[in-house]
């Protein structure tokens, strides 16, 4: 049984009459100890998917799915109280901007210990000891004195380490990192990535990494889901997806990496933007931008078809065409 199983997940915002589907028919499975990368442009539904699963969209988005299972528990029918026993304990999340993700009114020690108190019932010396251990696990120097520090006294990188310490406090089975390095400068980015991957190994957690950075994904992930306009365009194993991208969008993403276009005068780009709320085409969502577009693509939305090592949402997958 997979650790996380999502089938046909849709998330809608706005009124009933005029809804906006931020995520549409998304399928995703994550195995124990697996690293899954989710990539895609801004607004493609990466974060919303994860927030929906964590129950963080309460009162805002409407969530529909055939299956939404974590560790054998059905997250769709579970009560809010039951969900709170899982969230923060077995599933934890790291956010994009560490400087705003910590509460400015409490010390970092308090904020780490809060998780331990709520989920593990730790008290007194054991609580403090565990918090200290966590601070050391995320390689915060002078951890003991930093417990009493307020978030504004820490740098961005330090804050992100604290956020990570908070997330791994109860040894979660699944850690979701939502662009964990976007707000940090480049040298710190590498350190934080290393830390996350090391923790993933030592704790044997599954790790979902939401990112714009294909290089990072290529290096560490076992599997990649490429999202476009609320749908999975392609999901396949690494490194296959990087060697032989099946979806034109994946191919375009790879081509836009500067290192891949050495010697070229201009970076390769895909013309146009992700279709917005009201201008989604009736056919394939990529059809207005796709370099290989055919008549069928404009008329009919493609479903997911199996390819070697994964699935792709395209009428004319690239590998199939070449074969």
């Amino acid at each position: 049984m997979s650790l996380l199983e999502i089938k046909n997940l849709s998330v809608e915002f706005g009124s009933q009459h005029n809804p906006f589907r931020a995520v549409e028919g998304l399928d995703l499975t994550v195995e124990q100890g697996e690293i899954v990368g989710i990539v895609g442009e801004s607004g493609s539904g990466k974060s919303v998917t994860m927030m929906a699963m964590m129950g963080l969209l309460e009162g805002q988005g409407r969530i529909v799915a055939d299956t939404l299972q974590f560790d054998g528990k059905d997250l769709l029918t579970i009560s809010a109280r039951e969900r709170r026993k899982i969230v923060g304990k077995d599933i934890a999340m790291i956010f994009q901007d560490p400087m705003t993700s910590l509460n400015p009114s409490y010390t970092v020690g308090y904020q780490i210990m809060e998780v331990l108190k709520i989920h593990q019932g730790l008290r007194g010396a054991a609580l403090k000891q565990r918090a200290l251990e966590l601070m050391e696990m995320v390689e915060i120097p002078a951890a003991a004195s930093r417990l009493a520090a307020y978030p504004h006294q820490l740098s961005g990188g330090m804050s992100q380490r604290v956020v990570i310490a908070m997330a791994i406090a109860c040894s979660p089975k699944l850690l979701i990192a939502d662009e964990p390095t976007t707000a940090l400068d480049v040298t710190i980015q590498a350190q934080i990535m290393d830390l996350l991957v090391n923790l993933q190994k030592s704790q044997n957690m599954a790790l979902i990494m939401i990112t714009h950075d294909l290089a990072v994904v290529a290096e560490v992930a076992h599997k990649v889901a490429v999202m476009y306009a609320g749908q999975v365009a392609e999901m396949a194993k690494v490194p296959g997806i990087f060697r032989k991208p099946a979806h034109p969008y994946t191919e375009a993403l790879l081509k836009s990496i500067p290192e891949h276009s050495k010697g070229a005068h201009r970076l390769s780009t895909l013309a146009g933007i992700v279709p917005g709320q009201y201008d989604r085409p009736s056919g394939c969502l990529l059809s207005p931008r796709c370099p290989y577009v055919q008549d069928k693509c404009k008329a009919q939305r493609p479903g997911l078809t199996a390819i070697e090592g994964g699935v792709v949402r395209c009428h004319y997958p690239i590998t199939a065409k070449e074969a």
Binding site: G88, F95, S101, N103, Y150
Partner: protein, 342 residues
């Protein structure tokens, strides 16, 4: 933090000077003088008038009177009432607990109801409750105090007979003032002699309810609106999402992670309301014949009792300033970013 306190203290000196100038000037701009007011409708011999003014030291040129006033102040002498001949400070001390009791009751009412209404309105944003609370609080804020007080008296005291119309305690009770707070005094008296003073505490409480509501209405409205908008702002913060992602209960997310941060601007507003309370106390005490500072000042103005007006207002202004000063320091306690600022 220390230099911050000293800087704030330094700013107080010009403020005090401004207040003395204002009160000194304003009371003398009102037509009539203390002697004329004392004599009333009877015709007054100009010679006797001049003698009386000389005795009171009011025949000197204005600048000389002002210099006298300031030098007395600097010697810690707040003067005595022209009418009662008792010391201004003494009168203030006797009357102040009544005002403080009223103001505290009003503030408790305003803070408890205001915070609660603001928090619930923010959580249930866009609901009927939210619109209702905001509509009512706008009405409350715009309501003239004297009119609101009279309406409440008409309804609750006259029509329903639930609460007394005026004063602090029924005349049937004879309570020795120990603290000056009627609630405490009656409670002590009832404990000491239950037979003679049965029901005194409840009576004092019933006297207090209406004036406290009237005086607390404007602060309540301001606090509720401020709490709501501040809560809404903080609820959108990333760290509130983090708190929810930690699996904390909604109550913990709201009260520990949201309200704590939302309170910072609300605290300032509460501090500023102390000025409003003092201003409101003047009207409220007049409507309810509440024997406090507000009524004392109004009476002093109508008697042209210069020392009482000047120094009474100075004391009240000092209280307002000191409260705001304390709020500024509390602000630092609530907000570590300010506490750590050099």
């Amino acid at each position: 933090m220390l230099s911050f306190i000293f800087r704030r203290l330094g700013l107080l000196v010009p403020t005090f000077f401004g207040i003395t100038l204002l009160t000194f000037g304003l009371i003398r701009m009102i037509p009539g003088d203390p002697v004329e007011v004392m004599v009333g409708e009877r015709t007054l011999d100009p010679q006797m008038h001049a003698d009386a003014m000389h005795r009171l030291g009011l025949d000197k040129p204005l600048y000389a009177q002002y210099v006298d006033y300031i030098s007395n102040l600097l010697h810690g002498n707040l003067g005595e009432s022209l009418v009662t001949k008792s010391s201004v400070w003494g009168e203030f001390k006797t009357l102040f607990p009544a005002t403080l009791e009223l103001a505290l009751a009003a503030m408790v009412f305003a803070v408890v109801c205001g915070l609660l209404a603001g928090v619930i309105a923010a959580i249930k944003r866009g609901s009927i409750f939210d619109h209702g609370v905001m509509g009512i609080s706008l009405t409350g804020f715009s309501m003239p105090i004297f009119w609101w007080g009279l309406i409440l008296i008409m309804f609750f005291s006259v029509k329903l007979g639930w609460t007394p119309v005026s004063g602090r305690l029924d005349l049937a009770y004879d309570i020795t003032p120990r603290t000056g707070f009627m609630l405490i005094d009656t409670w002590l008296a009832e404990a000491a002699d239950p037979a003679a003073n049965a029901g005194a505490f409840k009576d004092a409480l019933m006297h207090l309810i209406l004036p406290a509501i009237v005086l607390g209405t404007i602060p309540l409205a301001v606090i509720a609106r401020m709490t709501r908008s501040s809560m809404l702002e903080v609820l959108r913060e990333d760290y509130v999402r983090t708190a929810r992602a930690k699996g904390l209960s909604p109550a913990r997310v709201i009260f520990v992670h949201t309200l704590r941060n939302a309170l910072i601007p609300v605290l300032t507003v509460i501090g500023l309301q102390v000025g409003t309370l003092m201003g409101g106390a003047v009207l409220t005490e007049t409507i309810f014949s509440w024997p406090g500072i507000g009524k004392w000042l109004i009476d002093a103005i109508s008697r042209r009792d210069y020392p009482v007006v000047q120094n009474g207002i100075l004391i009240v202004a000092t209280l307002v300033i000191v409260t705001n000063f304390i709020v500024d320091i509390l602000y630092g306690v609530a907000n570590p970013r300010i506490r750590h600022a050099k």
